[in-house]
Symmetry: D3
Subunit: 310 residues, 6 copies
């Protein structure tokens, strides 16, 4: 079988046949939550933590699912195991889990929605962004601000990404490969569209407080591994000035783990990519997952592409 | 054929077989827009205006669709006409149009999404809420505020409804049939979850300014018909006090047109439903659509239910 | 009888013996509302409107009083009539009505409070401020902002005046006779501590929108009488700049009706007091109440004081 | 003597005869401050700290009292001692101290107010809420936000409670026994109407930063006693999501000390009341005051009521 | 004499010798105000209005100048007349007037500053932007927001332009010739860096309310001339959505009067430049100043440049 | 030579002849940054840190200077050394460095500005404020708020001081020698016009978080020296209440280092100047700079002035 399978409401089906009703509230009105884990060396990483965060997103959104975190983890593992045979030696999978409130019938009243829809699927990590490990990402401030908790809490992982998508478009006006950086409504640096943001100054690492951002599991892991390479991380309320005068910066997310940033709003932050502190954290990361995530990503580039990197 | 059909990406299919891929960005991340029209007496009402508003939502969200408002209207009419034979004499349809950015491949980058997905379907108006025409709706303030335009503009009709859905849950804690009323972040009365809000004091009608609300086509129609019954409408920035001391209030939306409000935050605003000014507007509405929308809705109740109404 | 009487919960008592329990929620926690009318030439002015506004304050604060506006007006008139014999020919009364939620027993739960307390009394208008009709008031911006409606609506007249009182102290640091001018949280000019604010530029009158201010009955009356002297009034969102560059300004309140402003933040706005537009409005006011309110106030000064005026 | 006495401006009078003038600014315009201590086992607890906090409230509100914290404490003790003989073995008293700016004469100008009014009285703790120690309180978010410091500082204990009272009414719409939870204007969890709020996650305790809340003396005491039971408390800016996903929560206030929370916005947080961390803090509390405050409260229920508890 | 002269503190000097002290507070700390008029056909336009607005900026900033608007106008005219002989037939001048608080001695205390500095000079209008009359300007939203009035009032024209300059840099990241569009802190469209913003929808013209913007004299003139070409202009609070869905847009400023906008955030608004409504206003403008301002600007392009225009 | 020299764009000139063009963007539109160091005992203090902060201000404002911090330090030292011979034994210098974007030609476009202007000069510290070391400063809250980072970041030292200057005027309305205290837009205590603010309660020192303030080098130094005198400093979000109830307060700035505060908003905070904690910090300061800065300042008073001090 050369096609991956997906799980849809109790069935394991070929991805090309994995469908949901047009009346699913996830499709009709974004009434769902999701979470995304990945594997390293074909071993899922912190999958249980991702399932537990999903349970918290469900609690926040009042979606009543009759599965536990353990149940979801079991399903996700089965999908992963069924697709594992398609992985090449340097491949890995992301593991997506989506839960919606179910069918939008008989009325729009969310109290009357059907049984929740559960979807699980795999997908390769974004190796297509591999070059940024060497040239660094370009991060751009947007006029779009992160939705505040009194409207919809950024800590919950909800399939309402249009706020982030609008920011993507703004950043990509400046540079089609740029990553957006959103401020919260209080003017603090918040997060990128699917990544947390860190910066380095005078050897110390800083990152936004957890009020108006997703509490990334990669972000948590950075806090866990930092002491092993003598890196101190401080949470605070930061403003664009702090980033303009930073020595290094990086993005963290499930797919690419730690991605060095070279430019902010068109200005070079650091021409040495990764910067020394970022490099230590990448090392610690690699140790903790038992493989070199940068090398893995770069191995997916063509030799010509790779030769062109600094 | 006793089942309605729907339009999905160029095909007309039975509703029960109308599906989208689990990789559709509408499902995965709420990356879509929508609009909803309805018919009166089996004639679609302002369908073109709804298609034009949908085009504006597409423009705002940077979704590039190669169809015009006229094209969408034509598709929507064809769906409607194919389903018309299933309408009983007092039935009518809502006409849903959903457009998403297409498949979420190869990456999450919205610039790389596939061809937009277009879905059109019909559904009966919410006659299940018919009793509120006689007993009045209960409207409840929520702690959830309407998402502000610097995050995502409430004027665009986007399939990111979780902000409204959270408000629904809060209102329904107070009364399982209550409708939420959201403030904007400046503390002004904004809108209900799928309806605009109006109130009456000393014979004049007031409604929120169009900054932080959906610019409802029903709302527009109220402005058009009001002069015919000598009703003056003023837009402004209003606060909960204004509603507490109002004489009447009503909600407007595509499905139920004008729904009288009897209670606000547990307090009776008006025991006479509909109030005199609301009644004149309902009359004008009925004239403009050529039928009695209240009578139509009530006709879907059982005789016993109907007898129990005031 | 040379002492005024007051009404306290159904009794008419001498002011010196007019008391409420220390357990009254009005005393214990400011859980009350009030309104203040006055007489001109011994005739109460718009007393019914004041009673109706009080009923609105009660509605907003969920205080359940078993009296109507008409009942309150009747009581207030009786108090006034019983005290009328003490008025000299150039005297008049203010008419205070206070209603609280009653006794704070058995618990602090406002749902369990006793029967509302009703107090009515008279007091002379603030003739002690008469000189400002000739020298103009000094108005000073404060760092204290007006409480916003999402906390407590400025349109309701509530016995929670500490916000205004803090502003009084700030203004009086600059000048012991200054009047505060509070901004709302959006940075708009809002109101003084017990007065609405108006300013004049190029012959037109401007005053804050009714969102974050008390809807003064004197303010309403200004709108009513302005056309009679060809004065156009525009509501808007104004900022300190607008006042710095104004030609004239004035305060309105029940007691002194229209009080010209000569200085703003220590700067002379207009050395000619009252300015020409303010003067026309005072004229119109005097006509509408059938007496010269300025002359009445000035008549309470000593001849020496009066001679010292410009 | 079977009636308690109260102190009013230098006099000790029976509570039923304890009165203040209707012209007292505390009654007329909420121009006062207050504080509330209580006794445990007939011994006042931290009475001096309460008097000192009252002195700070006076400083903030520019009320000039010619008594010191020590003077107030002495008066409060005398009131307590005069009423002590009425206490049964399981009874205790709350000790209320109210200071207002005095009489509202000759004008509303707070600089011209009379001598401050001082009132002290006793009242039983709210044993009527005893059952919540066993079934847990229901806490509900309100649309009413806590007044911000630029309007009136929540750290000062002022007899302007209408902001809290409005929130009480909103919470009690959902459940007549619910406690409100107010957000501040920045969207952070702030406080309940007369209680501070804490929650527990993964064994750690969290509570709002002291910016927009009353700095409760019970709250301070929790910080003092927590180390004795190995509980770590972290202050931060928290949002509703944090409470939805908490394991336990509790309210703290002078009267009931520590009250477990079982439900938040209609959702069960913890069915085990008190939760394990809350239980440890209650234990530590009991040790620090030398009695079992839960048992004391429960002893005031009827045997039937008590039998009905879980 | 082939060099223009400038006025500096009472002297007429060659521009190349026009200097101010390094201790001038205008240089040291931006402690100054300014205004800019221009001529059409060698005749200064509304120069007196500009001088009067400058007087208002002085009043707001507490700079005490012993010159009146008439005095300033006279000086400005003299500078203009002395430089007029250098104007070619299609040339014109901008007329800059700068007034600062004077020397920063003996201390930074603004109360102790010296005599104000007055500078007047001429400069050609920005004919270098002529091509935009034909290809339309590109307007880009920035993350930088317009400074709010509680910090520094945008209505006053102050030599503190760094807020606007930061926005310029952001817009020019997207397109080196783009013009920034700043939101105010309430999320409303405010203004460009030195220009007001208007847009057209369905034949009507809209422009931001005057709260958070410079009250442009060109903007005022647009209001004056619009009726002559049957154009209705409405002020309001607008958001990015409104601009995305506009039919036309234009910028107004002293130098280029009315500049059509073709693109907003990278999206084509109107490919027909100028749009029909903009064209009518340009016509009306040309009539009111007695010359064709577009033709004048284009005449400064080389024939090759001009031929390249659409 | 009895006149100081200054550095202007590569030249060393007499201060009286130190001029910049009227077209310099620093003068025309405040388009510059600056920094100010001082000497103690004729030795510049942390001059390099000031130059490095200036480099950060340049980075933030996109001014491209072809000098490094080391180059600037060298120039500044040369100016200092050339002026040193004019210092009396108890004199010292402040060292001002101003860098602007250069000439405002050919257009206002900041991308097209000329080469940056660099100015360095000396000036005596503000010994004229010496008396405040003994009588304490009076600090006054203003209605003017500190400009927020989304408009212009307070961390960058920009020659746009009008926001602070407006606050100066407000404070000086209350007392011509008062220092302003600005809140940020979130209602937190921020900073004075050219000084950071600290206060003391119960022996601990508190100061605003670094979000909305200048990161003073004197402030940094206070953090460095505090442990040497066992003083603990906590950063936080503070409100006016915190200052009203403080035991001591002080201002820090380059010129006067640590200035005790005796009054806040007209109220005496501490009659004992300096308070005990402030005194310890002044001692530590004097040790760290090797001289008694208070004695130095006082030595510039006349014997009569000095005798009048407490």
């Amino acid at each position: 079988m050369s096609e991956r399978i997906a799980y849809v409401n109790g069935e394991f089906v070929l991805e090309s046949q994995a469908m949901v009703s047009i009346f699913d509230r996830g499709f009709v009105c974004g009434d769902g939550v999701y979470d995304v884990a990945r594997s390293f060396n074909h071993r899922p990483f912190k999958l249980r933590e991702h399932c537990e965060r999903l349970m918290r997103s469900l609690k926040y959104t009042h979606i009543r699912l009759d599965l536990s975190a353990a149940d979801l983890e079991k399903i996700a593992l089965e999908v992963f195991n069924r697709n594992k045979h398609l992985l090449g030696p340097t491949d890995d999978y992301m593991i997506w889990i989506i839960v919606t409130r179910g069918l939008d019938v008989p009325s729009r009243n969310p109290l009357e929605a059907g049984k929740p829809t559960v979807v699980v699927y795999n997908r390769p990590p974004y190796f297509i962004r591999a070059k940024f490990y060497r040239i660094g990402a370009h991060v751009v401030l947007t006029s779009t601000r992160r939705t505040p908790p009194e409207c919809l809490d950024p800590k919950a992982k909800i399939t309402n990404k249009m706020n982030h998508i609008q920011a993507e478009f703004e950043a990509k006006m400046v540079d089609p490969e740029a990553f957006p950086l959103l401020l919260d409504l209080e003017g603090n640096i918040a997060e990128s569209s699917t990544a947390n943001f860190f910066f380095v100054r005078d050897g110390r690492v800083f990152t936004p407080r957890p009020k108006n951002i997703l509490l990334g599991i990669t972000r948590d892991t950075i806090f866990e591994i930092a002491p092993s390479v003598n890196v101190e991380i401080t949470e605070g309320n930061f403003t664009p000035y702090d980033v303009y005068v930073a020595d290094e910066a990086f993005l963290t997310t499930t797919s690419f783990c730690i991605l060095p940033v070279s430019r902010f709003n068109g200005k070079v932050l650091s021409s040495n990519i990764p910067g020394p502190v970022t490099a230590r954290l990448i090392e610690a990361w690699n140790r903790s997952v038992g493989m070199d995530v940068v090398e893995q990503a770069l191995s997916h580039m063509t030799p010509v592409e790779r030769a062109a990197l600094p």
